[in-house]
Structure formats: structure tokens, C-alpha cells
């Protein structure tokens, strides 16, 4: 009894001590310490957010392609407003008076929810309008302007490439709670999205104290706790703005892509997806969004990295290179072709040309039959492989090493991997052992189950130009404060030896430079002195006319540019893709188009293929 009484007493003492601690601390902050009263005027902190300017985007020669300009948001704190002249305010802001009335009514209805918060009345008002408002601002307590920097596009370097910046939504904030709040902007597509972290900068704030009448009084701690905004890093891209712009003009009224790469560095020089978003629409994307989304040609869809097509005859280069490396093909091997390659009761057709041909001629004249023999000898190489499936798996390994069938890993967002089928796939479709070379014969000429993106085709062009390696294509150059991943500096070697490449390149050179009437498929691409090497392709399109494909690089011995053009429903490779790509090469290497090719330029600029493309 004694002991428990003692314990009970101890607990009561403990209770008293604990209560005493609370009271002493309360006494300290409520009575002794004036810090919390700040002159007994009930102040509180107000955070004034300072928005950083977004990083500027330059082209490879230092030309600004995306800059910033000043705009103002008009803010209103409904609780602070007094009766005001709606007509005067509306005219200053260039708005309908009913709009202002409707907004104020809305605030009035939601006043309990809004409380003392500040609302955004108008977004991105141009400086001229803001100046008019600022002159009469004193008549409108509760209203104020806030500087925001918005995007400015001095030249049209392609909306799909640059991407747009728009206000973040709730989902986006949830994903990145550290950096974004409602009302902030972020890059959503293209370069703006790819380099958002570099471009956005860091928000700052000034802390003010507000008194009981809700008026701003002084800086909190004389601004000691303030944080200045840190502007975003500028980005230097690999894009040649002039070339990009020229490519867009050439692609006007056509559906498809052009991708140009500097082979040695993997730097993307131009990346055109047509039809695309123009930069005028980009600047005010929310206004144009509906119109863009309703366009049947889907301008938002970036075909260069997101469209998966059969490559067509340009893929013959791949098969030829694999044949050479596997030792089943030599450059002087000749195969006959009489309007095609017969198998069973079928025939894979070809156009008229001399026969038999060697490898160089087969590349130059794009012979279908020849490459059927090549793929057949690869797949039916029983000395090395027990079954067709084994040989096919090896073949697929080669193809993947050239950057097909998987994402290249570019720094450009939303890249597609395309498709190169596996032997498992054919086993599933035809049963194990139920398929052979003739079943998949169309792979010889780049048809069938293959899907590749224009970026991957351009990368093939660069790989051939480099005689066997590529650097992962990318759009951002290293610059101060912007780090480039090491993978964009390394050479990716293919499984085919450098020596084999020389053997097909001569055929590509002859395809372009043999003159009309020689049988070369790309004579129209020839530019005297530029030594362009190219390969045409005509890929079947189940929705209408064939797709026109062309890859080329130049000059032959020291390639500065490798390019791929893929035009939907445009017919033979030589008809549209070939002139477009060669004009791009000429523009890049000479900076202008020679007089005797002006007719070609005019033909392309005026060409309108839109009616051929099915949109349903």
C-alpha cells in the first residue's frame, strides 16, 4: 500500500511537471517572445513566386530557334476587390465586359472555397495590353499583373521536333510533386519534353509579411529567406535550322518523314514529320489543340520516330551485307533475273533490266530476284546452320545490330522500336518446321513482317556511310551546364565487317551517278561534284499507292550527311523521296540549289500528294 501510494504520487508529480513544461513554453512564446507577435500586428508570410525564364533552344550554328518573350498573367484576389468600373477594366484588358462579370460572379459563388486566395483572371496577356492596364491599375484594388515568360519562335523549325510547353495538369503534378504546382508550365513533347529538366530552371520566391488587414507590410527577415529564381539552361541542338525549315517546305502537302544525320557524330541535322504542327500553333497550343486533334492527317503524330513502316528495297543493303559477312555472297557472284524470282507456282516480280547481274549492279538497279537468292543462301546455309530457324535467328541478330527491331535509344522522346520478327513468331504462325525460305521470301526485299521507323532507316544510311558503325542519333549537343550521356559519344559497331560495306557502297554510288538510261534507279538524285550514294525503295502500302523511300549519303569518301526520306503513297522511290532527299543533301553541303536543279525543287515544292493518302 505504501509503495503504490508512492507510485501514484510520482505519477501525479509527473503530470504536474509535464503540464508545467507546456505552460512554461506557452508563457515563453505568448508573453516573453515578441518574435511571434511582430509588433502585435498579426503578420503572416506571403510567398510571392518568381518564375524563372525557360532555357533558350539554339540550332547547331547558334541560331535561336526557341526564345522567350514577356507576357503577363492578370491576377485577382476577390476578397480585396471593391466595387469597380467593369467597362473600364474590360476595355483596358481587351476583353468583353461580360467575361469579367461572369468571372467575378464565379468568384462570388465560390467565395467560401477561395477565401483569401489569389486567382488568375487572364493568362498570357501581351505587354501592350498589360501597359494599358497598369496605367489604371490603382483604380482596381485586388487586381495585379504577374510577369511570365512565354515561348517565342523566331523561325519555323518544326512543331513536332521542338514540342510544346503547356500548363501542368493534376496528373503531371502528382508524378513530379517536387517541382510543379498548379499554374506551372512544362514541356510536353519534342525537345521541350526531352530536356525539360535542363530547360525549366528553378522557381524562387520573395517572402512578405501581411498584416491583419491583409495588406503586404514588409519583407520577411529583410529578404534573408528569399530565394531568387534560377533561369533554365540553354540547349544547343544538333539541328540545322535552315535545313529543317527547307525540309518542311519540301514536305509541304506530302505525308511522311525526312531525317538527316551527321554520320560521324550521330547528330540529327533535320527531323521533319509532315504534316506537322506549325510554330504559330505551338505558341498557343491550348487554343489550337482541338483543331490539331481533329485534323485527319494527325499532325501531332511524329512519324519520324513513331511510325513503323516496311522499309522496302533499301533493306536489300542489309541482306546483301549479311550475305557478304556470312560468306555466302561475294561481290562477283551473278544471279539471273527474268522479271522476277520464281518459286513453286509463284513468282516474286521484278522490273526489266539486264541479266544476270553481280552485287554492284543488283544494288544499282535494285533487282528483286538477286536478293531473293541472297536471302535464300543465308537461310539455307546448311554448312553452318542445322535448320532454317537457326539461320534466321542469326540473320535477326545481324539486323538488330544495325539498329532495327529495337529502340535506338535516342534522346528524343517517344521513340518506337519497330518490329523484326523472330523464328518463334513464324513457328507460332506456321508451326515448328512448317515454314522455309519461300514462306518469308518478301523479307528479301524489305516487305512482309518488318516494321522500321524513318529514324532507323536514316540510321542505316549513316551506318553505311560510316562503313559499319553508327552513333546513337541524338538532338542535343553538349554545352555549358548540359551534360550529354556517354552513349551518344560511342561508336556502335554492327556485326558486319567494315570491308563488306565498301562492296555495296560502290553499287549505291552507281545507282545515283551512272546517268539516265544506265539502269541506275536514282539518277535523278545526282548532283555533280557531291558524289551522292543512294538506294531507292518502293514499299507496298496496303492503303493505296506504294510508299516512296530513299536513303543516301554524301560525299562518298567523307560523308557529311546521311539522310532518309519516306513519303507515304508517293509511288516509286525515285519519284518523290529521291528528289527530296537529294535536294536536302545539296542544301546542306552547298547551302543553295544549283540552277539546273531548280526545276526539280519547283516540282517538289508544288507537288501535292495529300489526296492520295487515305485518312479514314
Amino acid at each position: 500500500m505504501q509503495e503504490s501510494n508512492l507510485r501514484s504520487r510520482n505519477l501525479v508529480i509527473g503530470l504536474a511537471v509535464a503540464a508545467g513544461i507546456l505552460l512554461v513554453k506557452l508563457f515563453m512564446i505568448q508573453i516573453l517572445d515578441d518574435k511571434y507577435k511582430t509588433d502585435a500586428k498579426n503578420n503572416s508570410m506571403v510567398y510571392d513566386i518568381i518564375y524563372p525564364t525557360r532555357g533558350v533552344i539554339y540550332d547547331r550554328f547558334g541560331k535561336i530557334i526557341v526564345g522567350n518573350k514577356v507576357a503577363y498573367d492578370i491576377l485577382v484576389t476577390p476578397r480585396e476587390t471593391e466595387k469597380f468600373d467593369t467597362l473600364l477594366l474590360a476595355s483596358a484588358l481587351g476583353q468583353d465586359p461580360d467575361f469579367i462579370r461572369a468571372k467575378m460572379d464565379e468568384y462570388q459563388r465560390n467565395r467560401k472555397k477561395i477565401g483569401f486566395q489569389t486567382m488568375t483572371l487572364l493568362k498570357q496577356v501581351p505587354p501592350e495590353t498589360y501597359m494599358k492596364f497598369a496605367e489604371i491599375q490603382y483604380k482596381f484594388p485586388g487586381f495585379k499583373g504577374q510577369v511570365r515568360s512565354i515561348r517565342d519562335y523566331p523561325i519555323n523549325a518544326g512543331g513536332n521536333l521542338l514540342g510544346y510547353v503547356s500548363e501542368v495538369d493534376a496528373d503531371y503534378i502528382k508524378k513530379h510533386p517536387e517541382h510543379y504546382r498548379s499554374g506551372d508550365y512544362a514541356g510536353k513533347t519534342g525537345i521541350e519534353a526531352a530536356r525539360e529538366e535542363d530547360l525549366r530552371g528553378e522557381k524562387g520566391y520573395h517572402i512578405y509579411l501581411r498584416n491583419s488587414h491583409n495588406q503586404i507590410q514588409t519583407r520577411y527577415l529583410d529578404g534573408e529567406m528569399d530565394k531568387e529564381a534560377i533561369p533554365g539552361h540553354d540547349i544547343i541542338t544538333t539541328i540545322d535550322a535552315e535545313l529543317q525549315q527547307y525540309g518542311q517546305e519540301l514536305m509541304r502537302n506530302k505525308v511522311g518523314s525526312v531525317v538527316a544525320i551527321e554520320p560521324k557524330t550521330g547528330e540529327i541535322l533535320a527531323m521533319v514529320s509532315s504534316p506537322g504542327i506549325s510554330v504559330d500553333q505551338l505558341a498557343d497550343i491550348s487554343k489550337h489543340y482541338k483543331e490539331i486533334a481533329a485534323n485527319p492527317y494527325r499532325p501531332m503524330f511524329n512519324r519520324t520516330v513513331q511510325a513503323s513502316y516496311p522499309p522496302g528495297s533499301v533493306f536489300k543493303l542489309v541482306n546483301g551485307l549479311i550475305g557478304l559477312e556470312e560468306g555466302v555472297l561475294t561481290p562477283d557472284m551473278r544471279y539471273p533475273c527474268n522479271h522476277g524470282y520464281p518459286y513453286g507456282s509463284h513468282k516474286l516480280g521484278c522490273h526489266g533490266h539486264p541479266s544476270p547481274l553481280d552485287l554492284e549492279q543488283a544494288v544499282m538497279m535494285s533487282c528483286n530476284g538477286y536478293f531473293c537468292y541472297v536471302l535464300k543462301s543465308i537461310l539455307e546455309n546448311r554448312k553452318k546452320y542445322a535448320t532454317t530457324a537457326d539461320a534466321f535467328d542469326k540473320w535477326r541478330e545481324y539486323v538488330l545490330s544495325m539498329g532495327f527491331g529495337r529502340k535506338l535509344g535516342s534522346d528524343f522522346p517517344s521513340e518506337l522500336g519497330g518490329n523484326i520478327p523472330t523464328s518463334k513468331y513464324y513457328n507460332r504462325v506456321y508451326g515448328k518446321g512448317g515454314w522455309k525460305f519461300t514462306t518469308i521470301i518478301s523479307l528479301s526485299i524489305g516487305q512482309g513482317e518488318i516494321g522500321v521507323t524513318p529514324l532507323q532507316i536514316a540510321n542505316l544510311s549513316a551506318t553505311v556511310a560510316n562503313r559499319g558503325y553508327y552513333v546513337i542519333p541524338h538532338i542535343v549537343k553538349e554545352s555549358e551546364g548540359v551534360v550529354l550521356d556517354d552513349q551518344f559519344k560511342e561508336r556502335q559497331y554492327t556485326m558486319v565487317d567494315t570491308l563488306q560495306y565498301r562492296k555495296v557502297i560502290q553499287g549505291m554510288w552507281r545507282a545515283v551517278n551512272s546517268g539516265f538510261g544506265s539502269g541506275g534507279t536514282a539518277s535523278i538524285a545526282a548532283v555533280p561534284g557531291l558524289d551522292i550514294c543512294g538506294k531507292t525503295g518502293t514499299a507496298q502500302n496496303p492503303r493505296g499507292a506504294d510508299n516512296s523511300v530513299f536513303i543516301c549519303f554524301a560525299p562518298k569518301d567523307d560523308p557529311k550527311i546521311a539522310i532518309a526520306a519516306y513519303i507515304e503513297n508517293a509511288g516509286f522511290g525515285a519519284t518523290w523521296a529521291c528528289p527530296i532527299a537529294s535536294l536536302m543533301v545539296e542544301k546542306y553541303l552547298r547551302r543553295e540549289i544549283s540552277e539546273d536543279r531548280k526545276y526539280l525543287e519547283d516540282r517538289v515544292l508544288e507537288g501535292n500528294l495529300m489526296s492520295r493518302v487515305k485518312t479514314d
Binding site: 505519477l11 509527473g14 505552460l23 518574435k35 498579426n42
Partner: protein, 484 residues
Amino acid sequence: MGTYERTLRKSLDWNLVLTYLALILIGWINIYASVHSSEPSTIFDFEFRSGKQFVWILTSIGLALFILFALNPKFWPTVSLPAYILVLGLLVAVIFLGTEVKGSRSWFNFGVVSFQPAEVSKITTSLLLALIMSRPSFKLSRTRDFFITALVIGLPMLVILAESETGSALVYVGFILVLYREGLSGWTLVAIGMTILIFILTLTCSPLVSVITLIGLISLFNAFDSGRPGRWLLTFVPLIILMAFLPKIFAALADNPSIPEIVKGIKPLWVIVGVSLLCMPFLMVKAWRVKDRFLQLSCLGFIAGVLMVFSTDFIFNNVLQDHQRKRIEVLLGMKDDPSGVGYNVNQSMIAIGSGGFAGKGFLNGTQTTYGFVPEQSTDFIFCTVGEEWGFLGCALVILLYVMMIWRIIHDAERSREPFTRIYGYCVAACIFMHLFINIGMTIGLMPVIGIPLPFLSYGGSSLWAFTIMLFIFIALDRQEKKYF
């Protein structure tokens, strides 16, 4: 005056009932003030929390009357075990079936009404504790009984921790006070206090300071236990001073070129820990030979303490969750952050501090009505009290709580039924923990731990739970009056 009324007036502990009524009234008024804006509305306006709280208050009083007059108090011991198991099941179920609120899954949501099993679990845990500890054969010092007791407290606590409701789980630590009353050694409380002290010291100062403090305190307690504080003054005080200067001595020697590099690499902390751990075996042999239990425990305590110093970093950085770590850092002044984690505390302290001696008066608070203080009608309701009623109001509220808790202890001690006594202490401990953690949080004494202030905070779940908890005790106590 009828017989019934006379017995009611005599048997009910009116002190407790009136304090209870005063507290819920104060809560209701302050909830009204905290949601009040310049839009005129009455305290009964159901659109606001004050109106809703009015409904909670009426239903709570209904519940209280039901417990007092419709239920036989003998009922409580019999339902203790089934109720405990049922609520434990609900606690587990809510992890899978509950709705997520601010990162923790601890609420069942039935449309208009939400219900938090953790609130009820305090009652059932108290009832079961009272039941098992009131058995005549129960002895806390017996290992089996001790483990059963620890299990009854620990199970719901662990499940609540799994729900990430650290605050509610912390309240269970308060049951140790009940165990203390029922015979747990006071040194257990000291050990817990020291654990917290060492944790804080290691984080804010350095492991070296922690180890020296550990040596100093444990040796001091031993000196008192063996009745030789004088010898401690002569031996340990100079030793501790020497240890405190060890880093300085090391720094001075570091300049001496004649000392090899390997020796210079030795840190003062290692020397102290090494030497003291070397002494341990001798002390332990002595402790076990002369069967000095205190010395035995001191040795083990010291080793545990040193282990803790070295693992604190790990616990702090790997066991605690991000937001909890930040709150502790801000509380201990390791990081200053007026816009982030520190925002709540900073705003809350500005609100309370600006109240001054007598406050700004009812509905005149600006900090709370402008919405600077978050959760102002629930966890931070004390801000409104502090701002509008000042130090006087705060002191009154705290005094009311102290009165309530003291009165519960008083009634519990007077009781002849161990069940009533132990249950009473449980109620007192829960209210005390909530009171100290919640108010401590609003004035920057405790990290921001989201638990309500009993009877004052807005919310049906909490008010109902505390009402039921308190009135079970009042009913039990009333039944005891027949002895007097």
C-alpha cells in the same frame, strides 16, 4: 426530489462530467472560430464543421447516457477479450480495405461517416489490460505475465505502425505509466528517457557526447543505488572531464611529428568505447558474483546504449520514413525550413504566440481564419485557443485536462476493484499522451505528429471514442460508490 435523482447526484463523479462538458464546449466554440470567415453563419450551420461537430456532441452525450444508465458496468470485464480481438481484426482489415488519407491507410469510409479503428483500439486495449492485470494471481514481475501484458499492448501498436499512423502508435507508449503504477520498476521509465536522450544527442551533437553522457548517467545511477554518491564525485567526475577534453588533447598531439600516422588515425570515440568495453567483463563478473542485479542491468544497459549510438544513424536514415525524418530534423533545429516541413509548426507558433496574454478575442483571430494554419479544426485546434484566448485560455484548457486526469487517478486509487483502478490509469495515460503530444506539437516541443486533442478536436470518430472511454470509467467508478 426522488430517490433516483438523489442517487444519481451522489454517485456520479460530477467533477469529471463537468470537466468533460466544459472541454467539449470549448472545442465546439473554437471549431466554430477556426472555420469562421467573414461570411456570417451560425454555429449550427451544417455546411460548416461547427454544425457537424454539434451533431457529434449530441450523439456523444447520448452515448455517455447510454453507458451510464443502460449498461451494467459488470458488462465491461466480460466483453474485454472479444472486443479486443474484434478491434484487432478491424485494425488489420483496414490496411487492406481502408481508404488512404495522407499516406496512411487507417480509415474505414462509409460515405458520410468515416471511422478509425485505432481510436477504438485504445479502449479495448485498456479494457483487456485491466482484465488480465486485475486477476488475483497476476504479477508483473513474473516473466509469463509480463510477456502477456507486453503482447496486449504491443499487438495493436505494431498493427497501427503498419498503418503508418505513427502518432496513434506512440500513444501506446503511455501504457508504460500504467505498468509503472502496477509495479514495473521506475528504472524502466529512466531507461526509456535515456534512450530518447541518447537518440537526440547522437543526432544533434555527436556519438562521442552520447557515449560520455551514457557513462556519466549510468555510473551516477549506480552510485545512488549502492548509496555511494560521494565516491562517484571523486572518481567519475574527473574521468568525465578528462573524456570531454580528449578530442582537444588528440588535436594537440596531431601536430607532433614524432607520433606515427597509424596512431594519429585513432579517434577519441574509439578510445573511450574501447576502454569502457574492456572494463565491462570485470564489472560483469563482479555483478554476477555478488548478485548485484542493478549492476548487471547497468552493464547490459551500457552495452545496449553503445550499440544504439552506433545504430542511431542507421535507424534515422533507414528505418524512419522521409516525412518523419524531416519533422525530427526541423524539431531538433538541424534544418530550418519555413516553407516546407517547418511550415505547420512555424504558422502554428505564430498563431499561438500572437495571442499574447489575453488573446485577440472570440472570432478575432486572423492567423487561423485566414487559413495559414493547416488542419486548424482538427489536429491544430489548440492554435485557435492560443490565438483568440491567449495564455489565459491555454492555461485554462491545460488546467481542465490536468484536473480531469488527476481526478481519474484519484478515483482509480480510491477504487476497491483492481479492474476499475487499472482501467482508470489506462484512460488517464491515453488522455495524457494525446494532450502532451498534441499541444507539444503546436508549440514546437514535439515533432508534428498528427493526433487529435481529446474532446476539443473536430471529428466524430475521436470524440466518440474518448467519450466512450471516459464514461466507461465514470460508470465503473459510479458502481464502486456502493462501498462508500
